[in-house]
Amino acid sequence: MAEFRLLRSPAPAPSRDDECLDAFQRELDYIYRSLRRLGTPASEVDDLAQEVFLALRHSWDQYDGSRPIRPYLFGIAFRISAANQRKRRREVAFAVIETDDRGPNPDEALQTKQARAHVLEALEHIPLKRRAVLVMHDLDDVPVREVAAALSIPVFTVYSRLRKARGELESALRRTRKDGGNA
């Protein structure tokens, strides 16, 4: 009897859904922040994060587990943001109340939070396609080739979008600094 007690059935392999949920849980902070960087209003981030999860679950078999997951997730978040932006253009916004960190809060003493709000505000001035490239490359430090793969665009397009987006970011930051100085 004793030897039978030593035998254990192997632990069941995690299911596809478990793996996907696990990845979603690990990268939840990143997904939320990426959606905000892509211009999703704070009031819609919850719903879009769920859409990212559902899309991730749908395409889980296509994800190559040997590669970093963040560029893959960013690609999904970008497409969902773009679809949402198209939808929003056709709809009248319904009672959207921003409760997030748009614009420096006079009561907020933390410099970092102000800087973050400043960057988000400046990013708003860059069209989504170029903003996605800039965020991936200059904030997430994703190499150009991976940016191209994640967004399904040629490498040259990444370079040209990045060049233009950097210029737009600089002018937006200059403008917001100037507005802040005048205020």
């Binding site: 949920l21 773009a82 009672a95 600089e170």
Partner: protein
């Protein structure tokens, strides 16, 4: 040949450096997001494909062309019908009765034991703005699934079709019913604070809804 990228200014780089670290989400948002993801995974049918990244103009052209075609055909058909009708009035004392369109109720019969949502025939005939045949079948199908799940107390199972309906018909014909079902499903799952939030949002959006008293009751009795 790869073009040279302009370097970012030190000020811009410093700001990006501040934004680079990913901040942690508050525990309440994190737990809500994970609960929703688990509920969606549990229903098993809510996975959606990644939307294609296509240009906006390209998505408008076929729809605009189709709409123009439908309008042109409708105008032509109405002209023919009017012409025939006036010819018939000259020769006959009255027109034959026009065939009735299929009522929405035929597509979505009321489910037994569901006290929250009125059957679709009453919804469809409720006001002058709602056409009896304008509710897409797919929209009805999803709401039927959600209603059926709520009726058999499978509240987790109702969230899948509700989420899919939200995604596909964000401002559809049955959005009021969907949001009422959401409150009931969340309350049934014991997610009282979420149910209460959904009820508040429902009240703000549909202040004159006939479902409002029921929604309030469910939300106030939720744990």
């Amino acid at each position: 040949m790869i073009e040279e990228l302009p370097p970012l200014s030190p000020q811009a780089r410093a700001l990006l450096d501040r934004e680079r670290p990913i901040p942690s989400l508050p525990a309440s948002i994190r737990s809500r997001a994970l609960a929703r993801a688990h509920a969606a995974a549990a229903t098993g049918s809510a996975a959606i494909p990644v939307p294609p990244s296509r240009p906006v103009a390209a998505s408008w052209i076929p729809w605009a062309a189709a709409a123009a075609l439908v309008i042109a055909m409708g105008t032509a058909a109405a002209g023919i019908y009017h012409h025939r009708g006036s010819a018939a009035r000259d020769t006959a004392p009255s027109l034959p009765p026009r065939p009735e369109v299929a009522p929405v109720a035929a597509l979505a019969p009321a489910l037994p034991g569901d006290d929250l949502v009125p059957p679709f025939e009453s919804i469809a005939g409720e006001g002058p703005k709602r056409s009896r045949i304008a509710v897409p079948r797919e929209e009805l199908r999803l709401l039927k699934q959600a209603r059926a799940a709520v009726a058999r107390d499978d509240f987790g199972g109702a969230l899948g079709p509700i989420a899919e309906h939200t995604r596909r018909f964000r401002d559809g014909r049955l959005v009021e019913e969907r949001e009422a079902l959401r409150v009931k499903a969340l309350a049934g799952l014991g997610r009282g604070s979420e149910a209460s939030r959904a009820a508040t949002s429902f009240e703000a959006r549909f202040p004159k809804s006939v479902l409002l008293p029921t929604v309030r009751r469910i939300s106030s009795t939720a744990p």
